[in-house]
């Protein structure tokens, strides 16, 4: 009896990684083929942004990736700043680094919840959310918002920092560090988790590059590539940090990279707090009308390379002085992870349906950046 069954996984399934569905072709328990079905969170942002002013678009851009909004704002900001041809003030560069790294920590902690939940490690879920809550409170204190902050703004940052910024920030780091250590010992060193994740979904470095992997997935395969280091945007050139990388490229390596990145982010924040100038301007005021031009913003987000490509062109609209950008394209890091790479692993390895949540979870997908 050699009969294949087609099963739909998601979008309502608790084990599905967010707002996507998969069409899984099964032979018994074995997964033979997997197809992504996106579009459950398509809001048409790229079209909506063409109707709105460029400063309104920033608020919208944060909605593209719920878990890691500050990096999307940062790409958008980089692209707009290239069109205006300006550099942010020195102080704003450091504040941006701190906000972006906190966003990375919050994103990785939320990923821990998504990842540990389907493996039924409920304790790790609680600890991760408790640690993330501290970060969200910090965001509330510094930006006035918990989830979407709209704090990084073209020309600098939106508001100045409070006077007790350093003490409060260090206190948050002090609170979450033991929680993260607990998670590392209790979850990542747990034999059940190691048994499930080790050797699962191995990705060779050459294949990872060819299929378009970026971020922790690429570094998990042993390639030392990080845009923070190579492009050195904002204040990252002034700071010293290591790039964690894996050895075997399996699900366990990809998971360990994220926990190491949380420590590395804390290290970056501590350094930035020390080197940061406490006075000076925090934002240049920009004119309402964006000049014609083109900008490409690229940052290393929590999941990989995030790109915003903005084209401002007036053409036959001369005289109308349109305040909206002509075209904005966002490229998220999730599309290669859930399409080419997932398909490659399923075709080349014995994956059962019970392994799927661990495998998909180890990529840390954020499906809204496919849909946009």
């Amino acid at each position: 009896m050699n009969k294949t069954v087609t099963v739909f996984l998601g979008p309502q399934h608790p084990g599905a990684p967010g707002n996507v569905s998969f069409k899984v072709v099964l032979d018994g328990e074995q997964v033979i083929d997997i197809d992504l079905i996106p579009g459950f969170l398509h809001r048409g942002f790229e079209k909506m942004m063409e109707y709105r002013r460029w400063d309104m678009d920033l608020v919208m851009s944060a909605r593209i990736c719920v878990e890691d909004p500050d990096h999307v704002e940062l790409t958008y900001t980089h692209a707009v700043e290239q069109i205006f041809g300006i550099e942010p003030p020195e102080k704003a560069k450091y504040i941006r680094v701190i906000v972006a790294e906190f966003s990375r920590i919050a994103s990785h902690l939320l990923w821990l919840m998504h990842f540990a939940g389907p493996i039924a490690a409920r304790y790790a879920v609680g600890w991760a959310i408790a640690a993330r809550e501290e970060v969200l409170k910090w965001f509330d204190y510094i930006t006035g918002h918990r989830i979407y902050h709209h704090y990084i703004f073209p020309g600098g940052v939106r508001w100045n920092i409070p006077s007790d910024f350093k003490e409060k920030t260090l206190k948050v780091l002090k609170t979450i560090e033991p929680l993260v250590k607990d998670i590392e010992v209790g979850f990542f060193k747990h034999p059940v988790f190691q048994k499930r994740a080790m050797g699962l979904g191995r990705l060779k470095p050459t294949e990872a590059i060819r299929l378009g992997a970026t971020g922790p997935t690429l570094r998990g395969s042993g390639i030392c590539h990080d845009l923070r280091k190579t492009l050195g945007y904002d204040a990252y050139t002034e700071l010293e940090f290591k790039i964690p990388r894996g050895e075997y490229g399996d699900a366990y390596d990809r998971a360990m990279i994220r926990i190491n990145e949380i420590y590395e982010s804390m290290n970056i924040i501590r350094q930035a707090l020390e080197k940061m100038p406490m006075d000076g301007p925090y934002r240049w005021r920009l004119p309402m009308v964006m000049p014609e031009g083109e900008g490409i913003g690229r940052v290393e987000s929590a999941r990989g390379e995030f790109v915003a490509h903005i084209i401002n062109y007036r053409g036959n609209q001369i005289g109308r002085r349109s305040l909206a950008p002509y075209r904005i394209k966002f490229r998220g890091p999730t599309m290669p992870l859930l399409t080419t790479i997932l398909k490659y692993i399923v075709k080349n390895e014995d994956i059962t349906i019970a392994d799927l949540p661990v495998l998909i979870g180890s990529f840390d997908p954020c499906p809204p950046d496919i849909d946009r």
Binding site: G39, H42, I223, L227, I296, E305, Y313, P336, T339
Partner: protein, 183 residues
């Protein structure tokens, strides 16, 4: 104008070597070359040989006043510390057909589907052009084209032509007035 990638210049087809330039600033600095649409496969193959192994994305820009679609292929190299190359090409708006590059860069398969459903560009040799993100959710023309007013189409298709008003459900509210007055 400095830090020119000599390897890329070497590998490019001869007719485009003069056109290669270095533009942009900050995180957007890159090599850029504008090519004819019929040479796109040949050029991308040479760029792959020059070490740019990853396709970051394909941006499509619609210029109805010039009657063209512009396609921007963004390619990056891991070995060269994330260096970026953008290949630009222009195709006619009336006949938007271009060769597929999905066999050269695997991610292009999905990026081309996106370009097809949002702009209606046909990719010759691509075997899976379909509605992917918009599946079952959009009946109008390709929505990201500049001459398509999505707001108007949405009102006509899904709101019965009335602005912000569902004709049947909201009537009861109108009849009864606002919440407080009826009491």
């Amino acid at each position: 104008m400095k830090c020119f990638d000599a390897e890329l210049l070497d590998k490019l087809p001869e007719k485009y070597r003069d056109k290669l330039c270095f533009v942009g600033s900050d995180t957007g600095k890159r090599h850029e070359v504008t090519v004819d649409p019929e040479d796109i496969r040949e050029v991308l193959k040479t760029v792959l040989e020059a070490g740019y192994q990853q396709l970051v994305g394909i941006t499509v820009i619609d210029y109805p006043d010039q009657g063209v679609f512009e396609l921007v292929y963004m390619l990056t190299s891991i070995d060269k510390k994330g260096a970026l190359v953008t290949i630009r090409t222009r195709i006619l708006r009336d006949n938007p057909v271009i060769e597929t590059v999905s066999d050269i860069y695997p991610l292009a398969y999905y990026q081309e589907i996106e370009a097809y459903e949002f702009f209606g560009i046909m990719f010759r040799g691509h075997n899976g052009l379909r509605q992917w993100i918009l599946e079952d959710n959009w009946a109008g023309p390709p929505p990201l084209r500049k001459d398509v007013d999505t707001r108007k189409i949405v009102l006509e298709l899904y709101y019965g032509g009335k602005r912000y008003e569902r004709p049947v459900q909201n009537r009861s509210l109108e009849e009864h007035g606002s919440w407080g007055e009826k009491q």
